[in-house]
Symmetry: C2
Amino acid sequence: MQIIHAAIEVFKRKGYEASTMQDIVEETGMSRGWVYLYFSSKEDMMQAILVTNQKEQDTLFKTLFTSEHSVWAGVNKIFDIMEAQLNDASDDLIIAVYEYFLSGWRLSDRRSFLDSHFEKKHESLFYYLQKGVANGEFKPEVDLEVIMKMITSYFDGLLLHTKSAGCKNVRVKEQLILFKSILKKVLQVHDLEGDL
Amino acid sequence: MQIIHAAIEVFKRKGYEASTMQDIVEETGMSRGWVYLYFSSKEDMMQAILVTNQKEQDTLFKTLFTSEHSVWAGVNKIFDIMEAQLNDASDDLIIAVYEYFLSGWRLSDRRSFLDSHFEKKHESLFYYLQKGVANGEFKPEVDLEVIMKMITSYFDGLLLHTKSAGCKNVRVKEQLILFKSILKKVLQVHDLEGDL
């Protein structure tokens, strides 16, 4: 949708706090009244962006499950997508999203939205990994939920560092290779053909 | 120092963006002129806080090296400190620090400060871990710098998640146990007495 697209561009450019509804209205090229018909604040827009991202993530996991020959192959694809996102210096939307999370920490309305967003984001990854347990690919050493939450904590920290210090300084490529090898051990990945 | 202490209290309570010099002056109970004699902006204060934290971290590593019987025992202490920080719900300064990092992403003056802060923060952990390599405790599977950067990425992500979603939801305790066991393998920790 055109308004959301305009909001994303403005958030990328200026960050969340510094952006105003006026900036977004100008970016759409539409009238103020038209934009306000759909969204009454930049907060509404950010939530719409997050909900859309969440749906895209759900779709991604469903697609991976049908298109890849194993759940572990799908996890490898997720690492590739993560690496591409980290390498894309122009993708500053994530900065605005973290800003939104952090600055909203004290606002109780935003808190409940963020809590449910956090839950949903984790659920879809959890269900995906669980399929690997169900089909015998993974025999996790510890509670799968803890592994899944470690993955998302790590990925968010890596994004935060990369966006603040750059891919080269953070040694993203090598970090991801290391973390994937760790995950393979922790999940005890068995190839579906039988070998470890 | 009293002014820094007041700034920390204000940043914890209101976050970085929402805080003003006026708030901090009021918190100190001093005159405006007196406060401005030392700091001309909240930016100056945040940088002073970060530099102080950095020095405390350096001191911590030095203390650990002399007080603990091994580098790995020191790493265990670092995990304990991390867990205490994560469990301390009132420690919201970290939220303000991340906010400062993220909102400053586009300001070139702040960028160079943040880059050098990032470097220094990593250096002290790196030198500490390197002592474990030097004394034969650690035989890291991969480049030690990559392991060290993975640790800090993970810790920052864990902090971010815990401060947004709470310790219980994030399953901090279990995550830290898992991550420590991973680190022990990746560093290939050998007990100084000989056993693995």
